[in-house]
Amino acid sequence: MTQVDILVLGAGPAGMAAATEARARGFSVLVLDENARPGGQVHRAVEQREAKDGQDRDGAKLAAAFRACGADYRPNATLWAVEPEGKVFWSEGGAARSARARRLILCAGATERPVPIPGWTLPGVMTVGAAQIALKTAGLLPEGKAWIAGQGPLLWLYANQVVAKGGRVEGIVDLSPPGGLARAAWHLPNALRAPEYLVKGLAWQQRIRNAGIPIRRATRLVAEGDGRLERIVIDGWSRSAELLLLHDGVVPNTQVTRAIPGCAHDWDAAQRCWKPRLDDWGNTTVEGVMVAGDSGGIGGARVAALAGRLAAIEAARALGKLTADQRNAEAGRIRLEWKRQRAPRRFLDALFPPLPEAAIADSTIVCRCEEVTAGKLRGAVALGCLGANQTKAFTRAGMGPCQGRICGPAVHGVIATARGVDPATVDPFRTRFPTKPLTLGELAALAAE
């Protein structure tokens, strides 16, 4: 079995930075990433695109340093199990493989929060993140009767990218509850420690207006069509539609960390999501397992890259290359910048709160894989289910191939609102390895070893 000092999961900003930093300190590093190229979601295809802004330039620099750092980089590799003593399993090229690492730095990034409106399972309804991937990797622009709906910074960023490339959409349906700015104002002074986020944000909305794209506030959105999307109904106002792009912010991808026994997770009331309990260096409650970047709490690309470096420096201490004092000294400036970049987060959280789960209609499908409606989930709660796991047993929600990745936050929220309790007291889906489906043949091949 391959032995390495440090295994890094994910080649987004956190993973690339962690691997580069760890290599610079002389460690052997294995990097597993599900994508074909480094960059993660935010810097997807950054090596092939022309850099258009500071974020692209950050990404290109990170990717170049990562490519040159000498890590054993495995693209198209899906990690699916972490076992005690740093043992990891993954699939690559249709075969299961394993390695042992002295330290794990998990940088699994974020996933989009689901937007279970009526009709969101119709072909033609996708997420904004998906459309952005199509734009970044293949230059696809929305055309015809295309709409964007929901809330969150990525929604506005994507709309800007579309406009900048000469594309357009029929309109943007802003589903965020009113009063966001007033709520967020409390956090404004802190946010001004990194004013570039606010400046960028204000410019985004202005550019949409300048491009003449209508922005309509609404509370209720329905997608309709016979077998595929044909129209959307915005607060009762029906418009024809062939593409609807939904977004409601992003949440940490905790699919792997939740499956690790003893790895504690806490409810983040501001970001309304679960995240692993971390110290300032990224150590989880399990010795040897670290998390960096958005999978430890949403902070964005710059925070993620800094957290990746901090985690690698801490790993150097844990593996005996640095004393605690040396670690603190080397981390000093990175830590200061990490704090500055995190400063606007509470402002952004307050400005872009997730859409309320209570509003999901009983007839709306929440679990797409097993086609389980919100009403079925509420029925399970009425039977006495307290959390996502018994609800899963009684409804099959979360039992399909996505393993609850997509519906998890919505299932959790529907249960909490149906019970009328603090979401922090409702257990989320317990994940189990393998955290990604693999063929029985792949799995069985490991029995011969």
Binding site: C385, N389, F394, G441, A444
Partner: protein, 382 residues
């Protein structure tokens, strides 16, 4: 709802444990008209009920304890009626299919061991169980693409399978429908006698009082049974499960550790990991062995993707057989534990529930008194 002395709720029966055994008993008692509360832990409780394989199975049961074999077959006879009721209560099909069940043999050694087992069971009066050779298997399941290593199988036409989760859901719905209460979310911390009732106190400060108390607490049975003076040693045995994506029909009959569910998924089970640990993580090495064996039976499924794996802890007594008893020191307090909660659901909801209400357990159950564990050190699973 917090119970105070002034508002103490009184029931005919309080069942401790909302798993497959406790829910069956609670449902059965409620259906007979008793006022029932089923006390359960929270969402994250160690639930064998979620790890059940779903076989309604007699062929391997009772070797060494004929009463258990008889009890099992009685339950299988009652299952069709239970299935109809729980499907209606759950609002979805419990997928009970009494197709007959198989135990595949993949080499000469397994075949010989199984043949000897079947002969022994036959001599114990288990008349329907028999061995099939490969040709008979092919006739029984025409078109089923059995692997070349399958030499034969044991076969009991009375065996079958069902969806254990729908069963649990249906019985829980039936409990509520019959006016019973389901109270999840807190462990039981103490049981004491108060003026002709048993008061069951819980970790959240609440309590209920009942004429009768049934301890059906799965892997937590030992400490709770001790509260009513019963010594029932139960240890956790981990069972891991694999479920694939949905597949077109490929395996018409369920087998020990391999079945195609009513939803089309293939379920592969179940390890018997007897290490005393309460850990419920899956282990790749065990899953790999399970997958490898399933592929030897059905090579075509090697391309199928597994969607999920999970582990659950089954309660195991020292001899592996169930334990039922009324307490000698705490009359009206009972214990019921077993690791075949699905197969036995029909007798638990039927004769056992009736016996608890009548204050007299059925004869079969009486033969499975935990007294027999006294001084027992040998440990095995059935």
């Amino acid at each position: 709802m917090r119970a105070t002395l002034a508002t103490m709720e009184r029931f005919d029966v309080a069942v401790i444990g909302g798993g497959m055994v406790g829910t069956a008993i609670g449902y059965g008692c409620a259906a007979l008209g008793a006022r029932v509360a089923v006390l359960d832990e929270g969402d994250g409780a160690l639930r064998a009920a979620r790890g059940n394989f779903g076989l309604v199975w007699g062929q391997s049961k009772g070797d060494g304890m004929p009463a258990y074999g008889d009890w099992t077959r009685q339950s299988i006879r009652l299952w069709p009626e239970l299935a109809a009721r729980v499907s209606s209560l759950a609002g979805r099909d419990v997928h009970y299919r009494a197709t007959g069940g198989l135990g595949f043999c993949l080499d000469e050694q397994e075949l010989e061991a199984r043949t000897n087992f079947v002969r022994r069971r036959h001599n114990d009066g288990h008349a329907t169980l028999r061995m099939l050779d490969r040709r008979e298997l092919r006739e029984l399941m025409p078109g089923c693409p059995l692997g070349p290593e399958v030499l034969g199988a044991s076969f009991d036409p009375a065996d079958g399978h069902a969806d254990p989760l729908v069963l649990l859901q249906g019985m829980q719905a039936g409990l509520l429908r019959a006016g019973g209460q389901h109270r999840p979310g807190a462990r039981v911390t103490g049981i004491e006698g108060v003026a002709g009732f048993w008061r069951v106190a819980r970790a959240d400060g609440s309590a209920v009082e009942a004429r009768r108390v049934v301890v059906a607490a799965g892997v937590a049975t030992t400490p709770i049974a001790a509260m009513v003076g019963l010594d029932v040693p139960v240890r956790p045995v981990r069972g891991q499960n694999i479920v694939t994506e949905r597949l077109d029909p490929i395996l018409p009959l369920p087998a020990s550790a391999l079945r195609q569910t009513g939803d089309g998924t293939i379920q592969i089970g179940v390890t018997n990991e007897d290490d005393g640990s309460f850990e419920i993580a899956t282990t790749t090495a065990a899953l790999a062995r399970m997958a490898a064996r399933a592929i030897r039976v059905l090579p075509a499924i090697r391309t199928a993707r597994m969607n999920r794996a999970w582990a659950a802890l089954r309660p195991m007594t020292p001899d592996g057989f169930p334990a039922y008893a009324e307490s000698g020191t705490h009359p009206g307090c009972f214990v019921a534990t077993c690791h075949s909660g699905v197969t036995l659901a029909a007798v638990h909801a039927g004769p056992l529930a009736a016996g608890i209400l009548a204050g007299r357990l059925p004869d079969f159950a009486n033969e499975m008194h935990p007294e027999r564990f006294r001084g027992m050190t040998h440990v095995s699973s059935h």
